[in-house]
Amino acid sequence: MTGYDGWILLTASLVGLTCGLVGSLLILRRMAMMADAISHSVLLGIVVAYLVTRELSGVHMLIGAAAAGLLTAVLVQWLHQLGVRQEASIGIVFTTLFAIGVVLIATKVGNAHLDVQHALMGEIAFIPWETVRVPGIGDIPEAVLMLLIVLAVVGGLILALYKEWKITSFDPALAAALGLPVAFMHHLFMAMVSVTAVASFDAVGAILVIAMLITPAAAAYLWTDRLSVMLLLSGLFGVASACAGYAVAWLIDTSISGSMAFATGVLFLVSSLAAPRHGVLARRLRARRAGAAPSRAQRTTGA
């Protein structure tokens, strides 16, 4: 039993870590709702990959999902260039792609292995049973292997292009002036988000992956002003909420992925109150202190 729980905790932690890393860049690049869109359209990619290959293997699903994610990014861009507002084009593209995915499941693949419930909420409880044999290590769950690969790729890309991500995220105009391939980085990042979304898909499902992507990163953003610290904290918060969510789900016997999403929310709430510089309490305190005693600058100028 400990092995079973261990695999689930490992899977959840890997999801938290990978999503936390990608999520940090995501909110700094102001693309939170784009993640919402991509995580929805990943469903269509998976369904189409299944319809074409008739099997639910990791690799096919990964390719299908990455393609669907890129398709979403490209369609949103295209509509935006045609004069549709950014948020409206996001709304049109992902609802339509998601609707097509649901219709395909409900009408064609319905009695197969794919079901809508699974797609939405994930089935982390089944993950330890679907194992693959890795030479030299032994049997490990397929989802864990996939998450490890994705974490290595995503983490490697973030580290290797750290300076480039920093500049393109904080000052795209400067990045373009320096000759950095801003558009290419944008699409590369979209692909990273899609791959992360699909690797986490089995564990937490299409909608709750948004919680893992956005919320820990937003909480970390309140604690620090440094990108490196934010990446670390965000990954840590992701792992912490994944473990806390699993504990809560075990205690009151409910959906694991739902509890994980809820745990990220609690973590964000605590951060928004208690964070040292950008938290609500710190701000209140600063405001009160400033009101009670005029700052040195005010005193010296005699204002």
Partner: protein, 307 residues
């Protein structure tokens, strides 16, 4: 309408009214640049629906819808609080509220489905919408609420126009921005709450966004855009519902969204004001005129130079 049962006709009427109301409210959302707010609040309604059921222990639509309204409003307040009290931007705040509230909803849903009688509650239907599962009373409630929303928007048409396009002038005339904000939020939540049963919490956003954007391709006038958006929304609602009755247990929401997307595609291509075809024709005509003008001025210049 031949071949449709009496019940199915009622479903058609109610989704038609719902689509029209969503189209109108979506127009306002479009000009307020808050298209995705509807998405966040629709997801945020889920814990309220389930909580309403858990509170009573049996299915009562008014209580569940009241719960949905309460949790959607709470979500709206939370987005506003995050935006004004922290340095998190609105889109990130919407993402947080959307996913965390949905997660809570899924937690509650899992617990409720284990309760005695919970399995047959049909709560799952709120995720993708199942118009066919609605009973007569539900449809009456839905239709009446949609009519109220329609009337509120139509009666205060002038105020909306001012509020959206010239807020400074509106304030000068004594129109309270906060009151209009409150009415706007109420309308949005109302449409979402009456819509989730037919369209589902995940796809409700489409009915708020797609008709308005489609209508934009046909006209520049706000009044006509409202009318068209209501028409498109109603049409998509009815068409999607009708298609979903063709199969056994097909969800309504996705078909409504696909119908709306079809209308958007037609508008994008053939829209009279901004459609791709018209724009291409205009550009071509302009190029031809420019070319003709340059040729004429060149010959004139040569003529002048000759003698």
């Amino acid at each position: 309408m031949t071949g449709l049962s009496h019940n199915a006709q009622w479903v058609l009427v109610s989704t038609l009214m719902l689509g029209s109301a969503a189209g109108l409210v979506g127009c306002i959302a479009y000009w307020k640049r808050q298209s995705l707010m509807g998405d966040a609040l629709a997801h945020a309604a889920l814990p309220g629906v389930v909580g309403g059921f858990a509170l009573l222990g049996f299915k009562s639509l008014p209580v569940m819808l009241a719960g949905a309204a309460a949790s959607a409003l709470l979500g709206a307040l939370a987005v506003a609080a995050i935006r004004s009290h922290t340095r998190i931007k609105e889109d990130t705040a919407m993402g947080i509220i959307l996913s965390v509230f949905f997660g809570l909803g899924i937690m509650l849903l899992t617990i409720v489905n284990r309760m005695p009688g919970g399995g047959q509650s049909g709560l799952d239907k709120f995720i993708f919408g199942q118009a066919a599962a609605m009973v007569r009373q539900d449809m009456l409630v839905m239709t009446a609420a949609a009519v109220v929303v329609l009337l509120v928007v139509l009666i205060s048409f002038k105020e909306w126009k001012l509020y959206l396009f010239d807020p400074a002038f509106a304030r000068g005339l004594g129109l309270s921005g906060r009151l209009m904000d409150a009415i706007w939020m109420t309308l949005l939540v109302a449409v979402i709450v009456i819509g989730i049963q037919a369209v589902g919490v995940i796809l409700m956003a489409a009915l708020l966004i797609i008709p308005a954007v489609s209508a934009r391709y046909w006209t520049h006038a706000f009044s006509r855009m409202l009318a068209l958006s209501a028409l498109f929304g109603g049409g998509a609602g009815a068409a999607g519902t009708w298609i979903s009755t063709l199969g056994d247990g097909w969800p309504t929401g996705p078909f409504i969204v696909i119908a709306a997307a079809g209308m958007f595609l037609v508008s994008l291509l053939f829209g009279l004001r901004k459609g791709l075809l018209v724009t291409a024709m205009l550009r071509r005509r302009q190029v031809r005129r420019l070319r003709a003008e340059t040729v004429r001025s060149e010959t004139l210049a040569e003529g002048e130079a000759l003698p």
